[in-house]
C-alpha cells in the first residue's frame, strides 16, 4: 500500500493505493492529482523510507515509494 499526502489547510489530504485491480481507481486518481500538483509547482518527497533511509525528492509517479508528502508550490512569505 502506498500513501500520498498532499499538504493543505486540513493538515494533509491522503490517498492510499496499490497496484491491485481493486485499487485501480484510487491509483488513477492519485496519479492525476500528483501530476496536476507537480505541474502547478509542487514538490514531492519520499519519507519514512524502508531501512531508515533519508527523505528523498521524487519527481515521477512511477518512482513513488511507500509514503510521499507533496508540498505545494512555495513562495516568499
Amino acid at each position: 500500500m502506498k500513501i500520498l499526502r498532499f499538504l493543505d489547510s486540513s493538515g494533509d489530504r491522503e490517498i492510499r493505493f496499490d497496484d491491485s485491480e481493486a485499487m485501480a481507481e484510487a491509483k488513477t486518481e492519485a496519479q492525476r492529482q500528483f501530476e496536476r500538483s507537480m505541474a502547478a509547482g509542487a514538490v514531492a518527497f519520499s519519507v519514512n523510507r524502508k531501512g531508515g533511509g533519508a527523505d528523498q525528492k521524487v519527481g515521477e509517479f512511477s518512482a513513488l515509494e511507500d509514503e510521499t508528502v507533496v508540498v505545494p508550490r512555495i513562495v516568499g512569505g
Partner: protein, 173 residues
Amino acid sequence: MPDCLARVLQLLGDWSPMGDQTPDEVLGNLRQGSPALPQRIRRCIRWLLYEDYAVISTDELFMEAPGKGPTPDARARQLLLRVLNPVQRDEFSRYGYFTVDAIGWGRFRVLSRTTFNVLNTGTGMAFCAGPDMPVPLADLMLAQKLILENDPERFFRVANHRREDGRYCGAGL
C-alpha cells in the same frame, strides 16, 4: 516502525472484523478513530512510536470520540513528528524548534512561528518562505524541513530574508 509495535498492530489487525490489515493500515485506522481502544493501549502505542511521553498527547495521536476527526493542527503535528528524525523530534519536543542542514547553504533552525521562522544559526539571517496556500504551522515547518534538506535552491530562490536586527534585506538569494 519498531518491530514490537508492528507485532502489536498485527495482533490488533487480526482481531479486527475487517481482517487482513497491515500494521500501517491498523495504525491509520486507529488514528482515524477507534473510541473503544482502551487508554492504556493508546499510551502503549504512543510509547512504542515515540518513547518520550512529552512529544505528543494521546488526544493528539488518536481521536477521542466517534465521528470526530483530528483537527488540522493535530493531523499536521502527527505528520511532522513522524517525519522528523529522532534528533529533530527530541529538539522539537523540548524547545519547539528543530535544526536542519541544507547542503551547501549551512545549518538552519526552523522555529514554531509563521513568518521569518528559518534562522541561519551561523549568520543570524532569518528567511521566510512557505506553501502558497494556508496550512497548519506544523505543515509549514514540515515543508521547510523537506525542501531545505533536499532542494534548498528552491527555498532560497524565493525566500524573503532579513538580518538579525530585523532590517529587511530582500527577496531570493
